[in-house]
Amino acid sequence: MPKVKRSRKPPPEGWELIEPTLDELDAKMREAETDPHEGKRKVEALWPIFRLHHQRSRYIYDLFYRRKAISRELYDYCLKENIADKNLIAKWKKQGYENLCCLRCIQARDTNFGTNCICRVPKSKLEAGKIVECIHCGCRGCSG
């Protein structure tokens, strides 16, 4: 089924240019949602979801802020329809958080000692050669 629209108004111009990409991403997301959990860790099963979510938001963000390829109207439309995550994009505008993987990794309330996730540690500060995959989203380092 095609994605259900939240507003009754038709999407603004430029929508047809981005629609195919968004459809692909939606398809991938559906695939990730229906994937069986065999052979994966419990947390690992959720990683593709976060990754695709990040990817989708990134696409819209890049189009508007970096490449300036869509109008503000279209951008706002995407945010309203929850195609892109507005909270995540809000973080990307801050210095140091430009490549933030997901919002869970900076949530201090979720951790035992009130810290950020391990993926937020810059690679220079992390002892050399240590591979980390954070448990929330499988990120390998989003700030270093």
Binding site: G39, N112, F113, E127, K130, I131, V132, E133
Partner: protein
């Protein structure tokens, strides 16, 4: 029973609450900056099954997170770390420590008995507020030689390593580099150390690690007293140049009266002979593999019987010290005639010290111990005079005129006679 609601809450086994865990140094890890999580009533104690405050921390980089396994009451009863269940002082399993201290702690292990015991212990401890462990251990605290030898001196962080990655053992570990578990060969299931049980380890029964340690201890070098009851001489080896008769005398006199000390500097050894066999045994026990003088560990062994000793030292008679009479003792007997003086080893003729001894070549064995007794009685003043121990500090150094054999300056026979030593009453009324 612990959670039964009822009228008698006064007799209920309470859930445990604590502020800080009881842990050993190895479990805490090497990092002085430690972040620990506390969870009230997080888990059941593995021994008494009561909910207790669980503490969880990371003992260092690449270590697994450790948490307290048994409650504080249980750990205080046995004086063990809450996580590793090893003794807090020595780091040894409960079984080894109890065997060394000869404690037979009969803690009840089952059901209501156990809960009752726990309850009473907890009450006692809350009243006592003492640092000493409750129960049998509190009463027997003499430090044991065996424990000191077996105990670890440095922390052993290999205990804190992560567990073996079971996926890797099967060849299926997909995590690869970032896998926090150990990619090592798993322990051999045939190894007796592989089946350990927390209850066994805690109560001190059937502990394979303890068995291994005790086997190792019994195969450690030990010095047995020789069967020949007359031997009261210790061989002291590894002297070096610095250690001489004086140092040996200063050390060994604490075990008992020294009959003689013979230093063989050529072979870096000495023979210390005691007057009584028991003092020799005490000295051997306390010094074997333990004595360190001037930074060198001395090799202590039993010497041979008197006669044989004399034969061995034929070439070294120059060094044999004849015993001078102890100066300053009351009632010193007059010197015996020359042919009898200082003749412990039944050697023919004992000329004064500064003359080289040439006569000691007689075959010794047949005239061993049996001849000691007459020698002893007729012997020169030192043995006879030494029997009443000289009162420390009371050293009137009045050399009786006829006694000092060669008119020499009174020599220090005991360290306590040294007037410069602390406690000696100093006078030189000559």
């Amino acid at each position: 029973m612990a959670t039964a609601k009822g009228a008698n809450t006064y007799n209920r086994q309470n859930w445990e609450d604590s502020e800080f865990p009881i842990l050993c140094q190895t479990c805490l890890g090497d990092n002085p900056y430690l972040r620990m999580m506390k969870e009230k009533y997080g888990k059941e104690c593995k021994i008494c099954a009561r909910p207790f405050t669980v503490f969880r921390w990371c003992p260092g980089a690449r270590m697994r997170f450790k948490k307290t396994e048994v409650c504080q009451t249980c750990s205080k009863i046995k004086n063990v770390c809450q996580t590793c269940l090893l003794d807090l002082e020595y780091g040894l399993p409960v079984q080894v420590r109890d065997a060394a201290l000869k404690i037979q702690d009969n803690m009840p292990k089952s059901d209501v008995n156990k809960e009752y015991y726990q309850q009473n212990m907890e009450k006692e401890m809350s009243i006592n507020e003492g640092v000493n462990p409750a129960g049998a251990l509190g009463k027997a605290m003499a430090p044991s030689d065996m424990l000191l030898k077996l105990a670890r001196t440095t922390p052993y962080y290999k205990r804190n390593r992560p567990h073996i990655c079971s996926f890797w053992v099967k060849g299926e570990c997909k995590r690869g580099e970032e896998c926090p578990y150990r990619h090592d060969k798993p322990t051999d299931p045939d190894d007796p150390l592989a089946d350990q049980n927390i209850k066994d380890r805690f109560y001190g029964m059937n502990d394979p690690v303890a068995d291994k340690l005790m086997n190792r201890y019994s195969s450690m070098p030990k010095l047995d007293p020789p069967e020949d009851r007359s031997i009261s001489t210790l061989y002291v080896g590894g002297l070096g140049e610095k250690i001489g008769e004086k140092e040996l005398k200063d050390y060994f006199y604490q075990f008992g009266e020294i009959r003689s000390i013979n230093v063989v500097s050529k072979q870096q050894c000495a023979f210390v002979q005691f007057t009584s066999r028991s003092s020799a045994e005490t000295a051997a026990e306390k010094s074997f593999n333990k004595l360190i003088l001037n930074g060198r560990r001395l090799n202590i062994k039993w010497g041979k019987s008197q006669g044989q000793q004399g034969q061995d030292k034929e070439e070294d008679k120059e060094d044999e010290k004849n015993l001078e009479p102890v100066p300053g003792l009351p009632g010193a007997l007059p010197q015996p005639p020359e042919e009898l003086s200082n003749n412990f080893f039944n050697l023919g003729g004992a000329p004064p010290m500064h003359h080289p001894m040439h006569h000691m070549r007689h075959p010794m064995p047949p005239r061993g111990p049996p001849h000691m007794m007459p020698m002893f009685i007729r012997g020169p003043p030192p043995p006879g005079v030494r029997l009443p121990p000289p009162p420390p500090g009371m050293m009137p150094l009045r050399p009786p005129p006829g006694v000092m054999p060669r008119g020499q300056v009174p020599q220090m026979h005991y360290p306590s006679q040294d007037p410069n030593r602390m406690g000696a009453s100093s006078q030189q009324n000559g």
